[in-house]
Symmetry: C2
Subunit: 108 residues, 2 copies
Amino acid sequence: VPDPVTFINCFDLPPGRDQEFQQLWEQVNTYMAGQPGFLGHRLHRSVNPDTGFRFINVVWWESAERWAQAHDEGFRKLVGQPEWESFRYTPTLCEVVHHSGMVGPVAT
Amino acid sequence: VPDPVTFINCFDLPPGRDQEFQQLWEQVNTYMAGQPGFLGHRLHRSVNPDTGFRFINVVWWESAERWAQAHDEGFRKLVGQPEWESFRYTPTLCEVVHHSGMVGPVAT
């Protein structure tokens, strides 16, 4: 069994662009969620728009290989849209090196 | 029942300082894990040291209030140590705004 990986992408955007960002992001997320090896995701938004990143997406994949394969031509077409240009992002592919307790629930 | 929150802290460090960082970080984590409202955490490390953040800590708390109260004098004493000065971090307190599927397992 290959090791699961966690992909974390941190987004900065100009003020007032949340809705536009989320619409674009959902196109990509829907596409990636259909790729083999995608396990699940949580898109986080900062409680305070003035501190930290505005959005942080955490995605769980079965393996680093599946994650890499998912970044195919269809993906590149979506993120190549000029609308993405005003959004800054820092993507990191991660492994978990220390953990405790439980993963928190999602508010309902 | 208050809404759960997710605290995400992204760390940049100079090359070769991973072990030193983890030792310092574990002091803070052990302290925070004993605070009321702490649910659990996952410390992530980048698979590739040259891209993205080197470490990303994700912590789940019962509520934003518990999270704020946990940042007390004992916490400030730990993070006020001069050894922290060479580590850059971007903390974000978040809510989950979109999610699907499952939270990935941790490699064993």
